[in-house]
Amino acid sequence: MSRSNGRTVSLRDRMLLASIVLAAIVVGVFVATILAVSAARNATKQEARSKNLSVAALRLEKLVLDVENGVRGFALTSDRRFLAPYTDAKAALPDQRKLFRSLATDQPLQATRAKTLDFDIGIYIETFADPVVQFSNRRAAELAYDSEGRRQAASIRNQFAQFIQAENELSRSRERAADSKSRHAIELGVVGLTGSAILILLFAIYLARGIARPVTEAAAGAGQVAAGDLSFRLSQTGPGEVGEFTKSFNEMAERLESTRNELEDQNAQLRESERLKSDLVNTVSHELRTPLSGVMGFTKLLLTREFDPETRRHYLGIVDAQARRLSNLLDDFLDVRRIEEGRFERAQELVDMATLLREEAQLYSQQSPKHEVAVEIDHAPLAVLGNPDRLRQVIGNLISNAIKYSPQGGVVEVSADGGNESVRVEVRDEGMGIPLSQQPQIFTKFFRGDAPASGITGTGLGLAVSRDIVESHGGRIGFTSAEGQGTTFFVELPGANGVKDRQGHDEDQS
């Protein structure tokens, strides 16, 4: 899901769409119900009309019968008293005929029948009933009545019977239609209302699941994150903006967590650096005070007491050695400053590493009678380009470490090999080795591992300075070691030819 495919419907559009569909469905249900109700009403109206028409037909038939009765009574008796039903009926006939005609218009067949009936009634009244009443002669009237009147009256009665039967049938079918349409309207109303209610419920559930629940979860999650649990993540399943929101929330928590972890790491590094600095203060204190004690103490003795020339010379030798030790310590600290400020002088001289190694090996061999420093060089010279003092410092550091970290004594093996392209130097000891856990830190400034506890002196600067010197010469320094089985340090430097190439390349860049 998400912005990348660009087809995600926004939450606002989803809600709008869902609301419109819901409203349309409800309106449709409502309209259909109204239509059904109105159809049922029409059917009921038509049914009522049929009933009215039947009533009107029966009344009209009664009037016609009254006319016939009056005429027949008069014709048989010539007594005008029997004309009363005729007179009354004749007075009411025009209105009733009009009503009958007007009611019988909505069904074509019945309308035709009604028209014929009405017409026949008119003929009967005009051509038979009225003339009979005019006869004064009873016999003539009786004849007239018997022949034609009887026939016409019978025909009219027949027609009425037919008409009313038809109308009754019509009325029954209309009643059935009205019943079915009412039922239909009620069913539609019930189903529509129930359906709408269910749809509204579904919409509410959708809102609750799609929006309310993720928002509630996000609020709870924000609380947890605020309380410090930065590993908390929301499930990213919300629609549209809610999904974007949970995603952003998770990204925020992610960033907070990684920032906190970075800070914690930095804090740990700072604490470690503080600890190293504090160690350094103690180290410097000890490392400076010891040679200083020698210088000051022997100087004071030489100034205050008398010694024979040989002893005096011996003591002055010690003062000289301790003073130089102080000076070297000072150089080491200054080198650290140079490393930190990134400046290291790069004197470019041809240096023969074979000669340099032999001189250093001899120097340290004299200083530690317990150790034998063996040199093995296959072929000489081994020329590199660089600063001879600095390279001497590196080799001196490695041999001095090899001696210091094999306190029981033993052989320190210095070997070198190489040619024009590169020179490799190895310094191997049979000492205590470097524990695996301390190996990654071995080139870290001021790091001394177990040396302080073992009473091994030093500043923890030698290897850091050495690595910087080797790398500034375009070489690399490394080691292999196992605890209790000694250590082999190696230095690889570009041969004199290689250095020339590198120099040219460097100048192009600067």
Binding site: N282, H286, G297, T304, Y315, G455
Partner: protein, 121 residues
């Protein structure tokens, strides 16, 4: 003739052991230890009249040597003078069992008189 008093010097730095020896008056015997283990061995073997102890010792620290000397029935009364380059206070060192204290760099005269005072006591 009086027996010559023995002083055990414990320091890992040969130049400082020589300085301590040179600072002393004539008439002492000296034994030297360059680490804490050797210091304890020599102390038990020689029962020296006093111990001069650098706190920064390989293999067994000066404070540990101090504790072992105090715990040893034979050696607990041997006066100990502590030399240190660290920043321990005088109180700390005396509380740990030392009888006197000089810090590096020290004055040879001060060391000499401190040793004489302790050996005489």
């Amino acid at each position: 003739m009086e027996r010559r008093k023995t002083i055990l010097i414990c320091d890992d730095e040969p130049a400082l052991r020589e300085l301590i020896r040179a600072s002393m008056d004539d008439g002492f015997e000296f034994a030297e230890a360059s680490d804490g283990i050797v210091a304890m061995e020599l102390a038990r073997e020689l029962s020296p009249d006093m111990v001069i102890l650098d706190l920064m010792l390989p293999r067994l620290s000066g404070l540990e040597v101090l504790a072992r000397l105090s715990a040893d029935e034979q050696l607990k009364d041997v006066p100990v003078l502590v030399i240190t380059a660290w920043n321990e206070t005088r109180e700390d060192v005396l509380a740990a069992g030392a009888d006197d204290f000089v810090s590096k760099p020290f004055d040879p005269e001060a060391l000499r008189s401190a040793v004489n005072r302790l050996v005489a006591a």
